[in-house]
């Protein structure tokens, strides 16, 4: 039966024997020392491989290389998606094409807005006349 001895340590009694200290083997000690280093080397290799792959594909280069990489990805993505969906047995609608020019779309948008603004007063007059005529016919 454990009793509290002065100093706070419990007296376990004569039946409690000291636990034998388990000494790890030299191989286990070496493995414990090497494991963090091996983990770091593996992680560093994976990160370095990712950075190198990004560099090799031209993702970290000039603007021309980046645009070329995007063009290659746009050309390669729909067939890859199609292949994977057919392999998995899914049916997806055809992937929309993203091949558009932002500057052309912007210019067309600006031209559309400006032409709409240029005809807006004329159209407003026409709609006002038609609306007035409709109201007059209703009142008759």
């Amino acid at each position: 039966m454990a009793t509290a001895a002065p100093g706070g340590r419990r007296d376990r009694g004569a039946a409690a024997l000291p636990r034998p200290r388990h000494r790890p083997s030299p191989a286990a000690v070496m493995a414990a020392r090497l494991l963090p280093a091996v983990k770091f080397v593996i992680k560093g290799s994976l990160a370095g491989a990712a950075v190198y792959m990004a560099y090799d594909q031209g993702l970290l280069g000039s603007g021309t290389q980046g645009a070329e990489a995007l063009r290659k990805a746009q050309a390669a993505l729909p067939p890859a998606i199609q292949e994977w969906t057919s392999y998995l047995g899914w049916e997806l609608p055809p992937t929309p094409k993203f091949d558009f020019s932002p500057s052309d779309s912007w210019n067309k948008g600006v031209q559309t807005v400006m032409s709409a603004l240029s005809v807006a007063p004329t159209r407003a007059c026409e709609y006002t006349v038609e609306g007035w005529k409709y109201v007059k016919d209703l009142v008759k």
Binding site: L46, A47, A50, A54, G63, G66, A67, R71, P102, N107
Partner: protein, 77 residues
């Protein structure tokens, strides 16, 4: 080649490069976050910001390129 056509092509290249650099920075940020930084968020933001910065620098260089004079320093002996 009309100058506004060339300007439009430069803008297209700039937008495409920005998308590529942002995606690459985001992807590498995810890789570093998972491998080294215990899935924290800041490497992803850092990578994306670096990608945008690289894209901005490339765009700036591309737009200023007609005005950059590449000279050669010749020593007269």
């Amino acid at each position: 080649m009309a100058s506004e056509g060339e300007l439009g092509r430069k803008w297209d290249r700039c937008m495409a490069d920005s998308a590529v650099k942002l995606g690459a920075g985001f992807g590498l940020g995810i890789v570093f976050s998972v491998i080294f930084f215990k899935r924290k968020t800041w490497p992803i933001a850092f990578g994306s910001g670096m990608g945008l910065g690289m894209a901005y620098s490339n765009c700036q260089h591309d737009f200023q390129s007609p005005y950059l004079l590449h000279g050669k320093f010749v020593k007269v002996s």
